[in-house]
Symmetry: C2
Subunit: 251 residues, 2 copies
Amino acid sequence: MAVGTIDSREEMLSPEELHARLRRVGEERYHHQHPFHLLMHEGKLSRGQLQAWALNRYYYQSNIPVKDAIILSRSDDPEFRRAWRKRVVDHDGNAQQAGGIERWIRLAEATGLTRERVISCNEVLPAVRYAVDAYLSLVRSKTFLEAVASSLTEMFSRDLIALRMDRMRQHYPWLSGGLDYFTARLDQAPEDARFALQWVTEHARTRAEQELSIAALRAKCDILWAQLDAIYFSYVQPGWPPPGAFRIEEK
Amino acid sequence: MAVGTIDSREEMLSPEELHARLRRVGEERYHHQHPFHLLMHEGKLSRGQLQAWALNRYYYQSNIPVKDAIILSRSDDPEFRRAWRKRVVDHDGNAQQAGGIERWIRLAEATGLTRERVISCNEVLPAVRYAVDAYLSLVRSKTFLEAVASSLTEMFSRDLIALRMDRMRQHYPWLSGGLDYFTARLDQAPEDARFALQWVTEHARTRAEQELSIAALRAKCDILWAQLDAIYFSYVQPGWPPPGAFRIEEK
């Protein structure tokens, strides 16, 4: 990710300015604007297209706790680790309740896919795999600040999820039984976002570090966007999945 | 990359059988079949679309000697390293002649782009970047045998390059001055492919290793294919480059 050279004498952004810059990245680049989501929310996707989305996005969902475990492993601060490990629990679940991965599988099952087919990841688009792997690579190899800042997309996810749940119930009522994943995220995501935003605000101690944080959020938006581009290309227009990937069943 | 479980008692493939399996991967998955290349060879791409291709593919081209240096760094055999280092020289050049990267820049310049714009990689599609980075990750983290086998796409490149040069001269005569990259590859690629094929044939010593080699070639084909999918999606149909990426200039 190319980042503009920052004059070290340039002034730090105030917390308010930093937050405004981060929010602008979200407005411009978060995937709530992606044409695939627009079609979804207008009720224009077929069951097969929703299957393709659920199956491919499973690769992302199932790697979220891996990503968070990498971040955990890079922190030398027990307090940070205690706060962050919640994310691993949220997605992997515990003895009392299913986690986000299990709930995503149930969503995929509600589209008509079998659990085994989803979990195998055999039919995931290579481009989706590369984008998700790029996310793991980012949190592993960039600075710790950038790794944490890349999670700030959670700042924007609550609104998207609320809209999505509303439109899914309206346009795809047969999917309504599979929406528990989103219900849980309505509370989890804002809590995670608050923590991460406060942490980044406190730990970006130079203007250059603030700019790196903003660039990391942009990079994460690109990763989400690229997944939907690949799904759109393969399953909407022109509709050409690459050799070996999931194909929508002909009716 | 999911690979079918191999029964360890299953018989080794003969060299002829192994080569036939590898060739079949090429027939089914190599990017000579990709719709973007078909349009290119039919003369149906605009100058702007060729610019998008040259600019994006530069990210791949410029990482080839990095990929080969990773492979060099993983070999403990001076004889192998002496043979393989030719690839780094071919792409990086020497005092006597320009290498493949420089020749690719000249091709991009022939499409009307400036050298600086190409080299900066600022406008490369994120999806192209993820695919190329997945290639570096493959040669870094998979077995050495798989790293070498992933280069076997060279087995198929001579035919594609010969066809491309012919069609480019026919359909895009204004590009003819920029084809030196391909001229050089006509001899380099088959020589590289012969060495790698012989090495893989000798060093895949179980059926499971033979299957891993075949899967590595398939994985590399997916990486090439995904780059063209991203270019097609952004610059042909529907023609939606993601935020921040290269945009074709309106005439």
